[in-house]
């Protein structure tokens, strides 16, 4: 059966791409209550497709690949899924399922109406976002990826201002301008690469760039594309759009945006520097990217400490956590990290980075949804006034707490494993300064989460008045997602070999902790 999966792998890729698109169109036409039903019905199928792709990649021990329309690149466009793509597809599906289940209560068509605005928009946009993310994770052609990025922009922006308040409209507008600037710079880079090498296919580009002396166009293109994608990823100092956008959106939408949307552009940065650009150039860029990442970790952490509202705190925490992702670059690209070939397949910074992607996605989605439950129950999310919420909503707070544990990097969570691997890699290649950043970031995370938890768990004062009872099943969804982010840390590292399939990544071998 598994070998059937591998053989049908190319069709699985196509299915992953078109399933959400087809569902979206059906939901758009039928509308009303059908939109929700179609979206919910798509969730398990999409999850199954993602699992099947991961299984096929793992079992075949090779990336899946298909030429669309039967036209091979450079004329045609290919789709490809390697281990990292498979992991991202899987993470996306898991978060989608959780958010979909969570959002049912918030986005129902009110009785007596056939269709209303917010539910229609939310359920179609959920599918739209899924389609866009899958397109990003499967794309192998730089222009195809541009279209995927734009799909993502169009799906993400309206989610920000679903509630229609003026602040969220402003936040969405600002997000849109940043996102558009990002895409257009990316497109410019892709155009220059085509002008220099005559192909947009990532594999072919890598071969042509690696084979010749570097064209000046490639250098400028890489800079432009990275700059554009950084604006979309909200890396410090182009992060300004993120907090109001992510904090202003409804909880379910915030979860999607913070957990998944910003990861897509990061994923493309990874692909550009590891799959397209030659290693030498990547090493130079790595220090710059990691320095910005370090600044983001510290800056995001400090600002998170100063927020008055819970959702804003979580949004600033996203900025800090994104910073960690950029520490991958110097730790994987450095020649010292891979002195021996046999160490290459051992888990290292690459695995750590991938784990950070996944565990942050789960943890952050859980936190935003927990914050949403708290805000809905209390009618506000002012941190100062959260006193006693631990008694009123123990399960929600527990979920928030263990998700936070993963963000902080406390063992035995997925976040711990991610940061531990990054720490070890930093130590082994002698770049100790990144270790300091990782540790300082962990302390800051601990501090801002302590602020929330200490208030919430305080036993002084009266029990808070709940304006709305909390729905137990929604708490379970949040808890489930939070648990996943923790349990990732308990899975033996050897089972993460999937992450390395399809790429000759120089990872450092470290002893299993």
């Amino acid at each position: 059966m598994l070998s059937n999966l591998v053989a049908g792998g190319d069709r699985l890729l196509v299915l992953a791409l078109i399933l959400p698109v087809a569902s979206l169109m059906l939901a758009f036409v039928l509308g009303g209550r059908h939109a929700e039903r179609i979206a919910l019905a798509t969730l398990p199928i999409g999850l199954a497709v993602a699992v099947a792709i991961a299984a096929a990649v793992l079992h075949g021990d090779a990336p899946l690949h298909t030429d669309l329309g039967g036209w091979a690149p450079p004329l045609g466009v290919a789709l490809r899924a390697d281990g990292l793509s498979a992991i991202m597809l899987l993470t996306t599906a898991v978060v989608m399922v959780a958010v979909g289940l969570f959002a049912r209560a918030d986005f129902q068509v009110p009785p007596g109406t056939t269709e209303s605005r917010a539910p229609f928009a939310f359920w179609t946009l959920l599918l739209a976002l899924w389609a866009a993310l899958n397109a990003v994770f499967l794309g192998e052609d730089l222009f195809n990826l541009y279209v995927a990025l734009e799909l993502l922009t169009f799906a993400a922006i309206p989610l920000v201002c679903l509630d229609g308040r003026a602040q969220t409209l402003a936040a969405a507008l600002r997000y849109l301008v940043f996102a558009l600037l990002g895409s257009v710079l990316y497109l410019l880079g892709a155009a220059l690469l085509y002008g220099a090498y005559g192909t947009l296919d990532i594999g072919q580009l890598a071969a042509r760039i690696g084979g010749d002396p570097l064209e000046p166009a490639a250098l400028i293109a890489a800079a432009l594309m990275t700059a554009g994608l950084l604006a979309k990823t909200a890396l410090f100092p182009v992060h300004l759009w993120l907090p109001p956008a992510h904090a202003g959106a409804p909880a379910a939408a915030s979860a999607l945006l913070s957990a998944l949307a910003v990861k897509a552009s990061f994923f493309l940065i990874l692909r550009i520097w590891f799959d397209v650009m030659p290693e030498l150039l990547a090493q130079m860029a790595a220090q710059v990217l990691a320095a910005l990442g370090a600044a983001a970790i510290l800056f995001g952490g400090v600002l998170a400490l100063r927020q008055a509202r819970l959702k804003m705190l979580i949004a600033y925490s996203t900025i800090a956590q994104i910073g960690y992702l950029f520490l991958i670059f110097p730790l994987v690209a450095s020649p010292e990290t891979a002195p021996l070939a046999e160490l290459r397949n051992a888990p290292g910074a690459w695995t750590g980075g991938a784990l950070q992607l996944v565990s942050h996605a789960c943890a952050k989605a859980a936190m935003f949804m927990a914050a949403g439950l708290i805000a809905a129950s209390l009618g506000h999310d002012r941190i100062r006034d959260l006193g006693g919420i631990g008694r009123a909503l123990p399960m929600t707070l527990f979920a928030f707490g263990i998700a936070g544990m993963s963000l902080m990097g406390l063992p035995p969570s997925g976040g711990f494993m991610a940061k531990w691997l990054l720490l070890l890699a930093a130590m082994q290649c002698g770049q100790w300064w990144w270790m300091l950043v990782i540790l300082a970031g962990g302390l800051l995370t601990g501090a801002y989460l302590y602020r929330v938890l200490a208030t919430a768990l305080s036993t002084q004062g009266p029990s808070p008045v709940l304006v709305k009872p909390v729905d137990r099943s929604r708490e379970w969804v949040v808890l489930g997602l939070a648990l996943i982010s923790v349990l990732l840390g308990l899975v033996p590292l050897s089972s993460f070999s999937l992450i390395q399939i399809g790429r000759d990544v120089s990872g450092i071998g470290v002893g299993l902790p």
Partner: protein
């Protein structure tokens, strides 16, 4: 210098101009226009690349692949402008303001 190079330089200048406008101009409408300038500079550069590719082989004409991509890009840019304008008009309806910065300040 050939005409193609000339248009290439024009595209480069437009990208710079659009970028400048996007950063500096007050008011969302003007930034949206600047974004369109920037986009058209990018398309022009891509068109120059296409023209060079067409000229080499066939003697005349233009490489059809970038042309197709530019057409796709133009439609996407229009859709993006429409969404931006829609957001701006709603913001205007709700607050009478035409920029996000001002809104941010009123939050504080």
């Amino acid at each position: 210098m050939s005409s193609v190079t000339l248009f290439g330089l024009c595209g480069a200048a437009l990208v710079g101009l659009g970028l400048y406008g996007l950063i500096v101009l007050p008011g969302a409408l003007r930034r949206i226009i600047a974004f369109n300038l920037l986009g058209s500079g990018v398309f022009l550069l891509f068109g120059v690349i296409a023209r060079r590719g067409g000229g080499v082989i066939a003697g005349t004409g233009s490489d059809p692949v970038p042309q197709a991509l530019i057409i796709t890009g133009l439609v996407v840019a229009f859709a993006a402008t429409a969404l931006a304008v829609a957001l701006l008009r709603r913001l205007l309806q709700e607050t009478g303001r035409d920029d996000w910065d001002e809104d941010e300040r009123s939050d504080r």
